[in-house]
Amino acid sequence: MMGKTWSKPEQWLRPGLKIVGKWHQNEYVLKRKLGQGAIGTVYLCEMNGQLVALKMSEKNTSMTMEVNVLKSLEKARDHCLGPSLLDVDDWQPPHGPVLSFYVMEYIQGEPLRTFLQRNGTDWLGVFMLQLLDDLDKLHEAGWVCGDLKLENLLVTNTPPRIRWIDVGGTTKIGRAIKEYTEFYDRGYWGMGSRKAEPSYDLFAFAMVCIGLFYASTFERGKQQPEVLIRRRLHRVQTLRPFEACIMKAITGKYRSAKQMHQDISHVLQQMKAKKRDSSSSDAFLMEGAGMLLLAGGYYLLSLFIP
């Protein structure tokens, strides 16, 4: 049954294909493949002129679990984590077993790393706060992100907003993390359990920040993990102001995303204050010059008007 994982029914799924749901009879026209994960493949589809993301898989049970997560996220929908769920259905291909699919909002965005390369790292602080805010709301709702990683983070435009696009790893607080990626997993680094709790996400969040500045992820070695991660972090100039916060997240010192949010926004305020200090003397000169100009103008004006 499950043993035959190599006979994939994906040969049918080509651009132009019309997918009609078995239960709700909605019609989707397949445009192109967006990506492939452990559980299924995501396609860009069109439904009544609207672009949507459709995930299809033969692993019915895993798909149902993902839908359950999306549904519960829907209930606590004042955060921007995860796409919204539009439809859940089955599809019967010309041959073979029935496939499950679900349809989500299509989040069109740019990978975090390329966005920062194009628009400058000033945005980093903004996104950190946005993401921590979302994480906090998710945790408040009783869930943990689990598989938080760079590949799952997109920046949507106008105004730039960070979004997280894969809910596959989302786990109820207190349970075992469902899905993870080694680099972002504190269990892999020997720095904590795989129990779903806020600090698990914050570790992954810290690794996202560090991973952002390395072309490829690094592995554990002979060195003590904490020392290795600290060294890698210290090498990144842009992260220096946040170093203490990030290490606190790595070592599991934060109880909630809110605490980390506070620390990061504090750092950002200090950074702004510093910038203001260094530019305030210039501002003073400019202001003086402006006043002189105005005064001169009035003086000249008074000469012409008798």
């Binding site: 499950m2 049970t61 149902t64 839908v67 349970r175 075992a176 779903a196």
Partner: protein
């Protein structure tokens, strides 16, 4: 609802059996006793093996009611966890399907239900998977060809115990190697809640080309039986989920 204990054998091998009974038949016996047999076949990194040599892997899992997967060494950790969890879900879903058939009629399965209903049932299955007790007996092939793979196997197993121990339910692990020094299979780790204990006593390699997979599975079955005779595993011992 009473908690039950899931029993699994996880066979890790890189080749064909060549001694003793047919492993697929033994796996079918294990299944009869409520033990699921999962198999992971490790592929050579240089793609040198003959594909039909590993056909056995799929057959053993099929008759053992479990999950099988062929994998290259570097993906072993993830695969071991995926296979274990998938098999748990599959077994639990099997129980739920049986219950459903009693309620809905004999030809109904979960796939015949509308997605909404399916979701509710899966939530129950997921709850059971999180809270049930689990016993995994790992059966490691230590014939000569496994030489350079054993360190990866060890890492993967420690990682598996990290993952499973994050669950609410309790876990017990046991490990046998085959072939053993004097017998077809020998115990390296007795039932214990963690795999870290295995670090020191990880199997030494046995030279020679004997791979008694069938007899090893039989020995593994005995370990489940013996344990419940010698030592009690809480008050729920010996009860399967069928009674849940």
């Amino acid at each position: 609802m009473k908690k039950g204990t899931l029993k699994q054998i996880l066979l890790i091998t890189d080749g064909c059996s060549n001694k003793g009974e047919d492993p697929a038949a033994t796996a079918a016996l294990a299944r009869e006793q409520g033990i699921t047999v999962n198999v992971i076949g490790i592929l050579e990194d240089d793609h040198s093996e003959e594909p039909d040599g590993l056909m056995e892997v799929e057959n053993i899992a099929l008759s053992g009611g479990g999950v099988s997967q062929l994998v290259y060494q570097q993906a072993l950790s993830q695969t071991v966890q995926m296979v274990t969890k998938q098999a748990m879900t599959q077994t639990l879903q099997g129980f739920v399907n049986l219950e459903l058939q009693q309620i809905l009629g004999s030809d109904q399965t979960m796939e015949d239900l509308a997605p909404d209903k399916r979701g509710e049932i899966m939530e129950v299955v997921e709850d059971m998977g999180e809270t049930c007790d689990l016993e995994v007996l790992v059966l490691v092939d230590t014939s000569a060809s496994m030489h350079d793979k054993l360190p990866t196997v060890k890492e993967a197993l420690i990682d598996l115990s990290i993952s499973l121990n994050a669950r609410i339910g309790r876990n017990r692990f046991c490990m046998l190697q085959f072939p053993g020094k004097r017998r077809d299979a020998e115990k390296i780790l007795d039932w214990s809640p963690k795999f870290d204990a295995v670090s020191n006593s990880f199997p030494k390699l046995m030279s020679g080309g004997v791979t008694p997979t069938g007899p090893a599975i039989r020995e593994a079955m005995h370990q489940f039986g013996r344990k419940s005779l010698l030592r009690s595993f809480g008050r729920n011992d010996g009860q399967d989920l069928e009674q849940a």
